[in-house]
């Protein structure tokens, strides 16, 4: 298996990262995702393919740069370069809540058991777990806590208004 979770199920990863596009004569087939620069440089060429397309953001990118492209994308890949770096939590919420992205938001990098709960609340639904993590054991992490106080991508209202 690919150590990959999609929508709370262990799944196989059908997406391939792709870089190095030149002149449109060697367009890759299948489901690929490209770095943001590649997308910005070769958007029209990439859109002539038949396969699904995704874009990978650095965690310093403002997701607003792809907000008008989101209906053409099936995947946005976010990076967690190390566990302590939580910038992509904000990117995920903006993509889901502000820009209404409906496709897969995928966490890559230091994707560890104890972050999955928070990631899913921010709208991340694809998880490329770090190699040493066990995907099937990690499924429990989504349900370790069942009560949530604040609105996020999975809740519109705070707990105090839901309780009444």
């Amino acid at each position: 298996m690919d150590n990959y979770i999609k929508d709370r199920k262990v799944d196989s990863n059908e997406w391939m990262p792709f870089t190095g596009l030149e002149d449109g004569d060697s367009l890759p087939t299948g489901d690929i995702y490209v770095p943001i620069e590649e997308w910005l440089n070769a958007r029209e060429t990439l859109l002539t393919r038949n396969g699904r397309l995704g874009v990978a953001l650095r965690n310093t990118d403002d997701p607003a740069i792809i907000k008008d492209d989101l209906d053409r994308l099936d995947l946005v890949v976010l990076e967690f370069p190390k566990m302590a770096d939580g910038r992509a939590f904000t990117q995920a919420r903006l993509l889901r809540e502000r820009y209404g992205f409906k496709g897969e938001i995928r966490a890559t990098g230091d994707v560890l058991y104890d972050q999955l709960f928070y990631m899913q609340r921010c709208g991340i639904n694809g998880f490329e777990l770090r190699d040493d993590q066990n995907a099937s054991h990690s499924l429990r992490a989504f349900d370790e806590m069942t009560v949530t106080y604040q609105p996020a991508s999975d809740e519109e209202l705070p707990l105090w208004r839901r309780q009444k």
């Binding site: 566990m83 770096d85 939590f89 560890l112 928070y118 921010c122 106080y149 604040q150 996020a152 705070p158």
Partner: protein, 551 residues
């Protein structure tokens, strides 16, 4: 006080179970120490010099007597029989065993307590005025707002891996007893003179540590309905742009400083515009619900005088001193606010034994509506004591060594645990605090000095808030020797200021003399006894004091 719903309680139990699992994975070696660190820190568990240290949250400093008894039980069963109240109104245990921590959390959960987010790079326990709802200078009780912030910030999925720790304080009174200007965000309740509505003055980017800064007013008036959306906007800007390349430049104060106050304000306002109508916009029904937990008790209608009290005041000097120093007026006639001093020559500042905790819980039941508050200056408060009960309470507090008449006076010292406990410390702070206390343990001298603060930190991280003391002491290690720098002129109150280093550092056996010299310069040069140390210092200036200290 706030009462947990079934869901609050369920979340707490789920969190304990989760942490129990994390400890088990660590003990089995499935989690590396580095990865476990991120998890234990989000649950208040530090690895210190000799042992783990567990920091338990006391939301906005409010405890029931039953909660205090549980704190005593934990001190007795899992620690060495005492706990340490911190400057952020929490309590710390210095000697728990890792494998016991899940059981400690279970015991805490039974009384609606926890260690959630008391450390780690997340939003910490929200602190407030220990005199909330009883102070005479209060505009509005800040605690309902604190509770909303507590719920909003607890396991906030977006802000659990911030660049650095994040501290919020809320004050609702004219006098600032919550040090709002030295917090990452400080909220001060104020009245809008045009609309007559209460809202917040919003300070951002205060903080101590290596780069002490006073918070900037990012918004002069924020309607209270917008409190949480605005906090969310600030946190989002910080999570996105806060520096992560250097731990010492990662606090929001650096972001505000480097971005510039105006630009930072623009960024926050632009983000806020997009979310201000969202699910965190607060409605009247939300305030009505949360304020319902903080209603005034049914105070008895009592006269504001009492014969027995007044007779004792005249006949017993010790009682009169205690009343003068440790009692404040209450908004309700016939009641008083009582400070329990945790500053004696016999215990480190802020330390309380398990037996004292149990006794304090009993006193709260007997005299003060079963509640206790913790303060920024590491003392405790019984907030609703009848004037007529003060003589009896005083006798009981004396027997417990909790009646030292020194609140906000020279021996009411804030001190971090220092090198006696802390892995970060570079010098000892508790022995210095005790040496100062012993030197000045004379009521007439303390009384004559009046309102003055001494704070001691055992390293540059400044947990003892030395920058905002009138007289701050910072212990540093210089070529293997512990030496102490003196800073003068700081304040953590509404006139907040960062103190300045006065000159070369002093050795451990010189620092108490240096403090005494500074105090004598004040006494000799004040215009009259009404002029406090800080006023005199501000009038005469640093050079004046420096010349006399080193000259």
């Amino acid at each position: 006080m706030y009462q947990y719903s079934d869901q609050d309680q369920q979340l707490l139990l789920e969190r304990v179970a989760q942490f129990r699992g994390q400890v088990a994975r660590r003990l089995k070696g499935e989690l590396s120490e580095e990865e476990f660190k991120h998890q234990r820190l989000r649950n208040g568990l530090y690895l210190q010099l000799h042992a783990y240290m567990l920091r338990v949250a006391i939301p906005y400093g409010l405890l029931s007597s039953d909660q205090m008894r549980t704190l005593a039980h934990i001190a007795r069963k899992y620690d060495k029989g005492y706990g340490h109240f911190s400057t952020r109104q929490n309590i710390q245990y210095n000697w728990p065993k890792l494998e016991d921590v899940p059981d400690i959390l279970d015991d805490l959960a039974k009384v609606e307590m926890h260690a959630i987010q008391t450390s780690g790079n997340c939003i910490r326990n929200t602190t407030s005025d220990p005199l909330a709802s009883v102070a005479r200078d209060e505009l509005e009780d800040p605690r309902p707002y604190c509770e909303l912030i507590r719920q909003w910030s607890t396991f906030h999925p977006e802000f659990n891996f911030l660049p650095r720790k994040f501290k919020i304080a809320v004050s609702g009174a004219t006098q600032d007893r919550a040090a709002v200007a030295v917090h990452d965000i400080g909220l001060r309740l104020i009245k809008n003179e045009t609309s007559g509505e209460n809202g917040f003055e919003v300070y951002v980017g205060g903080g101590l540590g290596r780069t002490p800064m006073i918070g900037k007013v990012i918004r002069s008036f924020l309607p209270k309905e917008d409190m949480l959306t605005y906090l969310e906007a600030i946190l989002r800007v910080y999570n996105t742009l806060g520096r992560r390349d250097n731990i010492y430049k990662a606090r929001i104060k650096i972001l505000v400083h480097e971005t510039g106050e105006d630009k930072f304000r623009e960024l926050v306002e632009a983000e806020w515009e997009k979310i201000k109508a969202g699910g965190l916009y607060l409605k009247d029904e939300d305030f009505a619900w949360v304020k319902g937990f903080f209603k005034d008790p049914d105070y008895e209608l009592l006269p504001d005088n009492d014969t027995e009290f007044e007779n004792l005041l005249l006949s017993n000097t010790d009682f009169a001193r205690w009343v003068d120093k440790n009692i404040e007026l209450h908004k309700q006639s016939g009641y008083r606010i009582v400070y329990l001093s945790l500053k004696t020559a016999h215990q480190p500042p802020g330390d309380v034994t398990a037996d004292q905790m149990d006794a304090i819980a009993d006193l709260a039941d007997k005299y003060s509506l079963s509640q206790i508050r913790t303060t920024h200056r590491q003392n405790l408060v019984l907030s609703d004591v009848k004037l007529q009960d003060l003589p009896a309470l005083w006798e009981e507090l004396k027997a417990l060594d909790l009646a030292t008449p020194n609140y906000n006076h020279v021996t009411d010292i804030i001190s971090c645990p220092g090198l006696d406990y802390c892995a970060l410390a570079t010098a000892r702070s508790i022995p210095i605090s005790q040496a100062i206390t012993e030197r000045f343990d004379n009521y007439d001298f303390i009384n004559d000095l009046g309102d003055v603060s001494i704070n001691i930190s055992g390293c540059i991280n400044a947990c003892g808030h030395h920058h905002v003391a009138n007289i701050g002491i910072l212990g540093v290690n210089k070529k293997g020797t512990e030496v102490y720098q003196l800073t003068l002129g700081g304040s953590a109150r509404e006139d907040a200021a960062i103190g300045k280093i006065i000159g070369p550092a002093f050795e451990a056996d010189e620092i108490v003399d240096a403090v005494e010299k500074v105090l004598s310069v004040y006494l000799e040069n004040r215009e009259d006894p009404e002029e406090t140390f800080l006023m005199t210092y501000r009038r005469l200036g640093q050079a004046f004091f420096k010349e006399r200290l080193y000259g």
